[in-house]
């Protein structure tokens, strides 16, 4: 009593107490782990012990060729409309289809929504206005903008005739809210790798993820992958193009630039444009024109761009007055602008823009990058592959000639084509017809009900 615990005794006590506590909680912890497959307590749980995946069918080396054997895939889910890609086009397509009454599944490769808009830090919203300042991007795209407006620090320069700038995190958040509200079935971290074909008709898509290859079956598939991964896998005709690939970054502390000092030397390059976050700018990068489907090229782009961004920020910091500027982040996603473009039933052309052509099957109206020209209509045929059925394109991979691709890929225009593809897919799925046989006036009516602008 009057002699204190020696160290060994003290440790024994601690061990015994810990073991007792652990044993006491063992039952509940184990049941929780079994149920959720996640850690139930202070250490991670074993979900399965000594596991060897039995049902795997490996690629085999046959001679010096690698052969992928045939195998059955687990069907993860069945749905009316499957939207592959959760970027600006895909999210809007999914929400539009759901609002039109279809069961919708949205699959996204990254862990967030918004694609290049948020993950690529394309924060300046070019493309929603036309010459004269009229805003043509309406509907769900405009709804997103309005919801961002209600958040603190989510969007700036939101006024008529001006291109606004958003905060990527605010946009990711709003898209999560909207996806949850719409009660979409969502799979994140799933990379669409194959189309499930039945002759010339697509019946779903195969996804690769940590859970392995799985299939999702659907009545209609919307390819909102940007790169046209699904349409290419389905055997639809497309044009493979090169474009500039950059990497956007954000820099901070611009509100702590010593303006007196800064005024004495020429302004450094790469200061970018303002964002809703005070003192933080987003810095665009145009990059070289390359093949955005070539993995070696993409790798080289990532390496070179990251090096350039870091070194350029150091250059900025060496400029008197700018010492406190720092690199906040580089975009999680590489800025791939254009890769595959669908060869559609109709093609969006510059001549139609110049002539102001009105299409009977109009499903959307696109804007100009810098309000330098008038509005242009998106014909429904631009979303439709020539031969493959039950497939619609949305976003930057819709059918457009080369010089229109820089307009088609703008975020508001992706909202517009996404909105159109979503509604058309829902109508086709619910009416039990092929997307090419869909009642276009019904699609237009629903689009208008959803406040889309069709000219």
């Amino acid at each position: 009593m009057n002699h204190p615990l020696d160290r060994r005794q003290w440790l024994r006590y601690v061990w015994a107490t810990g073991a007792a506590a652990g044993l006491a909680r063992l039952g509940t912890t184990e049941s929780l782990a079994a149920e959720v497959g996640e850690s139930g307590g202070f250490q991670s749980s074993i979900i399965a012990k000594s596991k060897i995946d039995a049902n795997r069918v490996n690629a085999r080396l046959v001679g010096d060729r690698v052969i992928q054997p045939e195998r059955q895939l687990p069907v993860l889910h069945r749905t009316d409309v499957l939207v592959v890609g959760g970027g600006s086009a895909g999210v809007v397509a999914a929400i539009a289809a759901r609002r039109a009454g279809a069961e919708v599944t949205l699959v996204e490769r990254y862990g967030h929504f918004g694609g290049l808009w948020t993950g690529g830090l394309v924060l300046l919203i070019l493309g929603h206005i036309v010459k004269g300042g009229k805003q043509v991007c309406q509907g769900i795209g405009e709804e997103i903008m309005r919801r961002l407006e209600k958040l603190d620090g989510a969007i700036i320069n939101r006024r008529p005739g001006v291109n606004p700038t958003v905060d990527a995190e605010a946009a990711k958040y709003i898209l999560v809210e909207m996806v949850l509200e719409a009660k979409l079935k969502v799979f994140l971290h799933c990379w669409g790798v194959d189309a499930i074909m039945d002759g010339q008709s697509i019946r779903g898509a195969v996804f690769e993820s940590k859970a392995g290859r799985q299939a999702i079956l659907a009545k209609v598939v919307v390819d909102a992958t940007g790169d046209g991964d699904v349409l290419a896998a389905a055997g639809a005709e497309y044009e493979h193009r090169s474009h500039n690939v950059g990497l956007v970054s954000r820099i901070g502390n611009l509100d702590r630039v010593d303006n007196q000092l800064a005024g004495q030397s020429p302004k450094p390059r790469g200061l970018g444009g303002v964002t809703p976050v005070p003192g933080v700018n987003w810095v665009n990068m145009l990059g070289p024109e390359v093949d955005g489907l070539d993995i070696e090229v993409l790798t080289r782009m990532e390496l070179n761009h990251r090096r350039f961004i870091w070194q350029n920020v150091q250059k900025v910091r060496k400029t008197p007055g700018y010492e406190k500027v720092y690199l906040v982040e580089t975009a999680p996603q590489l800025g791939v602008r254009i890769t595959r473009v669908l060869a559609g039933v109709k093609t969006i052309t510059r001549a139609d823009l110049d002539a102001g052509t009105k299409f009977p099957d109009v499903v959307g109206v696109g804007g100009a990058s810098h309000a330098e020209h008038g509005e242009w209509q998106v014909p429904y045929g631009a979303l439709l592959p020539v031969k493959i059925d039950n497939l619609l394109a949305a976003g930057r991979c819709v059918s457009a000639e080369m010089r229109m691709a820089d307009l088609v890929r703008l975020i508001p225009n992706c909202f517009v084509t996404g909105h159109a593809a979503g509604v058309a897919a829902a109508v086709a799925a619910m009416d039990g017809c092929r997307p090419r046989d869909v009642d276009i006036s019904k699609v237009q009516r629903i689009l208008r009900e959803q406040e889309a602008y069709l000219g």
Binding site: G273, M285, L286, G287, M404
Partner: protein, 454 residues
């Protein structure tokens, strides 16, 4: 002379007024026809060319300056010139729409109590000096041609109306004003087209005299060819005797003052010699001032600046024909020599790749014809980029000029060292159409601008 005219008038009055009526009808028809040709409905075709090209003066001067007949429409003017040899001032009497206007104005002037004034034969000096200028490729006062001025008046049909178009349109009203204040003065003394016809008629008399003398002396020339000249001389003498006193040249108001010594070659020769010297001097002087206007963009296929400014009659046909309205008469030129010459500006539209309207309506060859319409063969300038203004210079997202270029002359070049993307213009592919300049989102100063070649 007036007294004799008045004395002689009563007996010949019924016949003269009947002829006058026909002449006025004919000229009114010409005015209507000119109006129709110059109206926007026909602007896209070649027909507006006819209005200035039918002028004997324009046709002669441009043919001399270019040393070839530029188009079929010019043939009409040359024919008009040939007809002026036997038929004195036939165009003034039967064809000139501006003469009709001047006559009406003169009548009003006389009704207001304005009196005829006398003036040296300004028109003849102008006509001779310009013909001499044409020999060295610079017919310097050609824009004072009445038909060119009439065409200029129709420039008001182009909307929006430019300051230059207003200035150009003021010429015909000015002629009318002169005619109100000094009835008959324009047609008789000032109009260079009337004066040229007068000169041609006098030349005709000389020729007929010479040929008559030839017959008298030689008498061996073939009957057919000489017969024509003989008849011509006969009819001319007849008309001269009949009409000279009644003063109908260039309409009823042109008195015979300009035709003093119709049969006397000496004053004409002297006038021709001095006028030619003035013309040559003026042409070289004007040509020298054109270097100051090198910064101006001219329509596609325009001849080199100095030749262009000399040949251009300021009819405004090109400006009216231009579907994108990028051509306007220059109202504030750097040199007087370029006043009202068509200048291209890309404020609203660009020179469309599928269009060659302006090259089809130029009556004087200032804008050379562009058969096949290959704009690259006749560039109006070349685009240049100012990277200090270009959005790409600031790494901002813009592919506008590259994408709108109808000739795919702009490519974006990336520098691995600086990470700078720069628009580069291929001079072989850029016709200076200005599509990029119009579309460039930078403003008010554009980052990509078309400059004249050289």
């Amino acid at each position: 002379m007036n007294a004799t005219a008045v004395q002689r008038r009563p007996p010949s009055r019924p016949a003269a007024s009947a002829a006058k009526r026909w002449r006025n009808l004919s000229r009114a028809g010409a005015l209507l026809a000119a109006g129709a040709l110059l109206s926007p409905w026909l602007a896209a075709t070649q027909w507006p060319q006819l209005v200035p090209a039918a002028s004997a003066w324009v046709a002669l001067c441009t043919t001399i300056a270019l040393r070839r007949v530029e188009s079929v429409f010019v043939v009409a003017g040359l024919l008009a010139a040939a007809l002026a040899l036997p038929w004195r001032r036939w165009f003034c009497r039967w064809g000139c729409p501006v003469g009709l206007c001047a006559d009406v104005a003169s009548r009003i002037g006389r009704g207001l109590g304005c009196r005829s004034r006398s003036l040296p034969p300004v028109g003849q000096w102008v006509a001779i000096a310009t013909l001499a200028g044409a020999v060295v490729g610079y017919p310097l006062l050609l824009p004072t041609d009445p038909l060119a001025m009439l065409a200029g008046f129709f420039g008001l049909l182009v909307r929006p109306v430019s300051a230059g178009a207003i200035y150009a349109a003021l010429a015909v009203p000015l002629v009318c004003l002169i005619s109100v204040l000094a009835p008959g003065l324009w047609c008789a003394r000032v109009c260079p087209l009337g004066a040229l016809q007068e000169i041609l008629w006098q030349l005709g008399i000389l020729l007929r005299r010479l040929s008559a003398a030839g017959i008298a002396l030689g008498g061996r020339a073939s009957a057919g060819s000489q017969g024509g000249a003989l008849t011509g001389a006969g009819s001319s003498a007849h008309s001269s005797a009949e009409e000279h006193p009644s003063a109908v040249a260039g309409g009823e108001e042109a008195d015979a003052g300009q035709t003093t010594g119709a049969a006397d070659g000496w004053p004409l020769a002297r006038r021709a010699a001095i006028g030619a010297l003035i013309g040559l001097f003026g042409a070289s002087l004007a040509r020298r001032t054109t270097t100051g206007t090198a910064g101006r963009l001219r329509p596609p296929s325009a001849r080199p600046e100095a030749d262009f400014l000399g040949l251009c009659v300021r009819c405004g046909n090109c400006a009216r024909a231009c579907p994108t309205k990028i051509i306007t008469p220059d109202s504030s030129p750097p040199s007087l020599a370029a006043f009202l010459a068509p200048v291209v500006s890309f404020s609203a539209g660009y020179c469309r790749e599928d269009c060659r309207a302006c090259t089809e309506v130029c009556p004087s060859g200032a804008i050379a014809p562009l058969p096949g319409g290959d704009k690259l063969a006749a560039p109006l300038g070349i685009a240049r980029v100012d990277m200090s203004l270009c959005l790409l210079g600031d790494d901002r997202e813009c592919f506008v000029c590259r994408n709108c270029c109808p000739f795919q002359a702009i490519r974006l070049v990336f520098c691995e060292e600086t990470y700078q993307l720069t628009p580069e213009i291929d001079p072989q592919r850029c016709p200076g159409c200005g599509a990029c300049q119009v579309a460039c989102p930078v403003g008010p100063r554009k980052a990509i601008v078309v400059y004249p070649l050289g």
